[in-house]
Every structure is written in structure tokens, then in C-alpha cells.
């Protein structure tokens, strides 16, 4: 089945140690998103790619970066994780962004812990 896959399901890192979360999709969608979701809170959009066009949210910390080497893969890099970065990170895709009713397809998320 076509889907959005996030690995690993759980990731533990040390304070200040760079970490990379990965996302892949078999839907051949143009748009890929990264959301941060802290416990019992709404998912917060960090950035998204429309094809190779990178779009950063204004309030996304510089500590967070992303790479999309091809259509299928997108990575979230946290350069120097702090305790406040512990959260669930959700990857999502959509076919396009032109239509306002565009549906998002989500992965199962990566739960990041920072020790």
C-alpha cells in the first residue's frame, strides 16, 4: 500500500548531539511537511517542500533544518537538540497545495527524546 513511512519510531539523543529524522513516501506527492507535536498539543508546522522549493515557517528555530534529496525522501535535521525539542515529529504529504481542500497523508511519527 502506498504510504508515508517514518523511521525510527522512537529516537533518543543527547543534549546538543545532532540528530536526523527521516521520512519517505510512495505516494509520489509533490508536497512534504514536517510538524512538531508536543504532548497534548496541536501539531505545529515547521516547514514544507513543494517539490524542491523549501518553505520555512517564520517561527521555526534555526536549529531545525530540512533536506529533500528526491521526491520520495525528506529529512529533518536538528543541529543541537535541547530539552525543549523533545516531541513527536510528524511527516505528512499532499498531492499539491493549489487546491484548498487538499488532503494530508501522515506518517506514524517519530517520538524524539533528549537526554
Amino acid at each position: 500500500d502506498a504510504m508515508v513511512i517514518q523511521n525510527p519510531r522512537y529516537q533518543v539523543t543527547q543534549f546538543g548531539k545532532p540528530v536526523t529524522l527521516s521520512c519517505s513516501q510512495t505516494l509520489n506527492h509533490n508536497v512534504m511537511y514536517w510538524y512538531q507535536q508536543k504532548s497534548s498539543q496541536a501539531p505545529k508546522l515547521l516547514f514544507h517542500y513543494y517539490d524542491k522549493d523549501f518553505n520555512n515557517e517564520a517561527d521555526t528555530p534555526d536549529n531545525f533544518q530540512s533536506r529533500r534529496p528526491n521526491t520520495s525522501f525528506c529529512f529533518l535535521d536538528i543541529r543541537s537538540p535541547g530539552l525543549g525539542d523533545a516531541a513527536m515529529y510528524l511527516c505528512a504529504t499532499s498531492r499539491g497545495r493549489v487546491a484548498g481542500d487538499e488532503k494530508l497523508f501522515f506518517g506514524s511519527g517519530t517520538q524524539l527524546s533528549v537526554l
Binding site: 497534548s40 498539543q41 496541536a42 501539531p43 505545529k44 508546522l45 514544507h48 515557517e57 513527536m88 510528524l90 505528512a92 497545495r97 493549489v98 487546491a99 484548498g100 481542500d101 488532503k103 494530508l104 501522515f106 506518517g107 506514524s108 511519527g109
Partner: protein, 114 residues
């Protein structure tokens, strides 16, 4: 920009009963879309139902329906014949026009009592 308010953090419903989850939003756009997403304990978020603001008819998907009150900027989700699998966190999310981002509310945790 749009804002969304889900004022009920938790709700509970008896299996087979009906429950309504509330959501209010604010946007300056005239053309927008409204979504309800469900996030079960497994954490994969899935779309439940969507509504185009220009449509007066309320959207329906099987046991799920919405009560869209445009003037009041209210978009509630009704779940009929609740099932144990409906237990999840439900997020209301408006999207104002094309090329705009989805804004999630804080969510409502729904529990279903057997």
C-alpha cells in the same frame, strides 16, 4: 491568518451513542476549507471529514457528519453510533484558501465507554 478554538479538552461517550465535538474558528478569508483529523493512540493522523465553506450543505461521511454554521464560524463534528475504535484525539483544522497552511486546534481527546 486563521485561528481555531477547541474549548473541550476531553469528552466521553457511551458505545453506540452520539457525541458532538465543538470547534470555532476565525478567518478573514471568504474562501476556505475546514477539516477534522483523527489521531488514534497509534499516532497516525487521518482525515475524517472536510467541508468547503462555500457549500451550504453539511458534509457527511458514514457515521461522521458536521454542523457548519458559517455566520457563527462554528464547525462541529457529530459521531453517530460511536464505536470503540473512535477513541482518539480529534483536531479541527481550517485552511484559508489555496497555498495556505493547515492550522490545527489543540484537539479533543475522545474516550468511548464499552
Amino acid at each position: 491568518a486563521q485561528t481555531v478554538t477547541q474549548s473541550q479538552p476531553e469528552m466521553s461517550v457511551q458505545e453506540a451513542e452520539t457525541v458532538t465535538l465543538s470547534c470555532t474558528y476565525d478567518t478573514s478569508e471568504s474562501d476556505y476549507y475546514l477539516f477534522w483529523y483523527k489521531q488514534p493512540p497509534s499516532r497516525q493522523m487521518i482525515l475524517v471529514i472536510r467541508q468547503e465553506a462555500y457549500k451550504q450543505q453539511n458534509a457527511t461521511e458514514n457515521r461522521f457528519s458536521v454542523n457548519f454554521q458559517k455566520a457563527a464560524k462554528s464547525f462541529s463534528l457529530k459521531i453517530s453510533d460511536s464505536q470503540l475504535g473512535d477513541a482518539a484525539m480529534y483536531f479541527c483544522a481550517p485552511r484559508a484558501g489555496a497555498n495556505s497552511k493547515l492550522t490545527f486546534g489543540k484537539g479533543i481527546t475522545l474516550s468511548v465507554r464499552p
